[in-house]
Amino acid sequence: MGGKAMLRRLATSPSGQVVKKQSHSPLHHRMWRAKWLYLALLIPVAMLLLFEWLPAFSALYNSLYIWNGGKVHFYVGLEHYERMLSDRTFRVAITNLVGFVFFRVIMQTALPFFAAEMIVNLRSQRWSYWWKIIFVFPMVVPQILNYLIWRFVYNRQVGLLNEGLKLIGLEEYAHAWLGDPNTVMWALAFVRFPWLPTLQFLIILGGLQTIPQEVHESAAIDGAGFWRRLFYIDIPMTRRQITLAMILTMLFMTQRFDLFLVMTDGGPGYSSMVPALQLYQSAFHFLEFGYASAIGVVLFVAMLALTIINLRVSAGATNQ
């Protein structure tokens, strides 16, 4: 197999710089040399094309059709996208989502960051290890179970939150947190508080752990206190991890509909409706698969744009 030597030549260093001099041979030539690599990617690429991209493209296609999930299927062009512009529900849903995602992104980045900061600063290595395990542990609990429990937390009559308020003498603030349009989005934004999302938490923790010790040492010599160190060393040096945590949270929260479905069904009225839930309802309650697909496409484009902007901003800040 002469391919081995060729592969070796294609190998790059982690920083991306080419080990051997980059070849300027024609494209098909370079592709032929990489044939073993393509073969190695054949299974995953085929699987993704088949089970992920094909359904995704059929959704894009259906967004141009009126489709009831069965026989009714005809082309309407961009009508669904036009309808979205004047759809009151969609407008409310977007407004709700923006606030929700904004809050969750901050919460699900700040909390893990502070917890991670405290954990890496512990003198006791044993405790530091145990805290990681403790905070990662809740990930074994099924999401649906968390929602059931948080319904009980917000329950008007026996809810934990109201019982707590009663206990500290603030009984007049007790009310149906999920049944009041003024509090429902806040209640939903705080679901699972102060749980640390596993992925984001560990990624940020990893970033903090890899800050070279010398950096902190020299900062200490310069007399930098905890807060100075936080803002001038720790946050800037984990910027890429923080950015990633934010992007992931944004992506996950934008697509989340089960939370809203189980806790409030978007109510009262439309006060906790979000686009992902509207998508779900359009498809499965009203059999408007075309409109549902169009909402999905818009969500996809929005997420893609936000991700790119986020990466650009982060990269720009790092380069300065």
């Binding site: 008007r156 189980v262 069904d265 498809a283 059999l287």
Partner: protein, 487 residues
């Protein structure tokens, strides 16, 4: 390494393709709703089990036929499950279904019209029992009429369950507050709607939350059960002009209601409609805090623990539950008539109505046709719903009132059965009244109104827009003519 994986994947795919092929026997998949034979647990020692017996009997009598019961989680995933399996043509042959969903989906030819089948004899019904000569005779006409799809002229659903909704009330609690709990079958616990509001208002003054109910569609919700009753009372003088010619008192079908809107016979701008909204607005303060997002189970809990004196529930299935869980004296009543004292528009209304009706039944799906086993599937359905069999199902698990003639109704259902003597509402729940879209949006609009997000004027404007739009959509979809109302 990847070569082995490749080989493995191909193997998996090929193997997968072969499974599910080549059956020489007939297998009929069926859902059976609440009668699915779950396994007993500590808290639920007697789950329904009669279906297993029926299946065994049928399989013994029909060698080569297998019956597989399919359990579909009844919760939020039900809609998602249904449209996905239909889309993928992997639906069970028989599905327990709500007729409003069937109406919504029938244009896809997902369901087999049963028109001819119900005209033929049902051999499993004994001679002398209604239905033996003609299957349709085993079930009252009112049931068939309610579930019949006007647009296609087809009957898709065999409805064997009737639902009667009732007010469960805590006798101990009411008597402690000086409220007479004698329930009169000729009207209700109360003489009229105003008396009910008055007594509940007194309870509210005394610091209680009077009525537990759920208005969240995430669960079976109970708000919609009085939505149609009170609307019927408000339009009592006009409903006759909405009927198709020659009809007698019945629950309006989709076409009649949609046309009434189209022809301007009912509008959100009517005085009667405003009175109706006012009636609901006066009622709303009596409901437990948080009803808009409350689940049925949470509402139920409030009644069982004695926190709330009234519960809106299913007089059949919930009776079993309350019987088991309540440690106080209780009974079950129903909605009082809306009369002149509430609104001049209801002046000629004389009666309370049966809330509930005929909601779910068995549908035969297109899969039976595709596989060429329609006759066998219908045969099993005839077997299952024939009185000798269904009677055993119901006495094993008395959760719904059977609709068939000639069945002994279990003792536990006697209260609910009495309710069935009440006249049926002319205007049904919001969903079957017009469309699912209407039902959903109407509920959300009412929630916005109740929680002061919109005022009465906006509500009326939005309702008007919604009703007009949905009526137009439904009429266009079915290509109906609305001339019949204009004579």
């Amino acid at each position: 390494m990847f070569k082995q994986l490749l080989a493995l994947s191909i193997l998996l795919l090929v193997f997968g393709a072969f499974t599910g092929m080549a059956q020489d026997e007939i297998t009929i998949f069926t859902t059976v709703g609440g009668y699915y034979p779950d396994e007993p647990t500590e808290n639920n020692p007697n789950p329904p089990k009669m279906m297993n017996t029926l299946v065994a009997e049928y399989e013994a009598a029909n060698p080569g036929v297998n019956i597989e019961l399919v359990d579909v989680p009844s919760n939020i995933s039900g809609d998602q499950w249904r449209s996905t399996v239909f889309n993928g043509q992997n639906e069970p042959h028989i599905i327990v279904n709500n007729y409003i969903r069937v109406w919504q989906e029938q244009g896809n030819d997902w369901y087999v019209p049963l028109n001819d089948h119900i005209e033929s004899p049902n051999p499993y019904i004994p001679e002398g029992t209604p239905g033996h000569e003609r299957w349709a005779d085993s079930i009252p006409d009112v049931v068939w009429n309610t579930t019949y799809h006007t647009g296609s002229g087809n009957q898709y659903v065999v409805t064997v369950n009737a639902v009667a909704v009732g007010f469960f009330y805590n006798i101990d609690m009411l008597e402690a507050n000086g409220i007479d709990t004698a329930f009169d079958i000729s009207y209700s616990l109360w003489e009229d709607w105003e008396t009910m509001i008055g007594e509940m208002g007194a309870l509210a003054e005394a610091g209680y939350e009077p009525l537990a109910l759920s208005m969240s569609t995430a669960t079976p919700y109970t708000y919609n059960w009085f939505d149609g009753t009170s609307l019927t009372s408000m339009y009592i003088d006009h409903i006759e002009s909405w009927w198709e010619p020659g009809a007698s008192w019945h629950a309006l079908n989709q076409r009649e209601f949609a046309c009434a809107i189209q022809n301007g016979l009912i509008s959100a701008n009517d005085d009667a409609f405003a009175d109706w909204l006012g009636l609901l607005a006066d009622f709303e303060p009596m409901w437990v805090d948080g009803y808009a997002t409350m689940t049925w189970d949470e509402a139920y809990r409030l009644f069982i623990t004695g926190e709330v004196p009234f519960l809106l529930g299913n007089a059949a299935s919930n009776t079993l539950q309350v019987n088991r869980d309540a440690d106080f004296n209780w009974s079950v009543s129903y909605f009082p008539p809306v009369t002149e004292t509430t609104s001049p528009h209801a002046a000629n209304n004389e009666t309370a109505y049966l809330v509930g009706g005929f909601t779910s039944g068995f549908t035969v799906t297109d899969r039976a046709r595709r596989e060429g086993i329609e006759e066998q599937v219908v045969d099993f359905l005839m077997f299952m719903t024939a009185q000798p069999q269904w009677g055993r199902v119901v006495s094993d698990s008395p959760r719904s009132i059977p609709t068939q003639y000639g069945l002994d109704v279990p003792e536990a259902l006697s209260a609910a059965l009495a309710f069935l003597d009440l006249p049926i509402r002319a205007l049904k729940d919001p969903d079957p009244r017009l469309s699912r879209r209407y039902g959903e949006d109407h509920r959300r609009l009412m929630q916005e109104f109740f929680t002061d997000q919109i005022d009465l004027e906006t509500l009326i404007a939005e309702e008007d827009r919604l009703m007009t739009r949905e009526a137009r959509v439904v009429i266009a979809e079915n290509e109906w003519s609305c001339d019949f109302q204009m004579e």
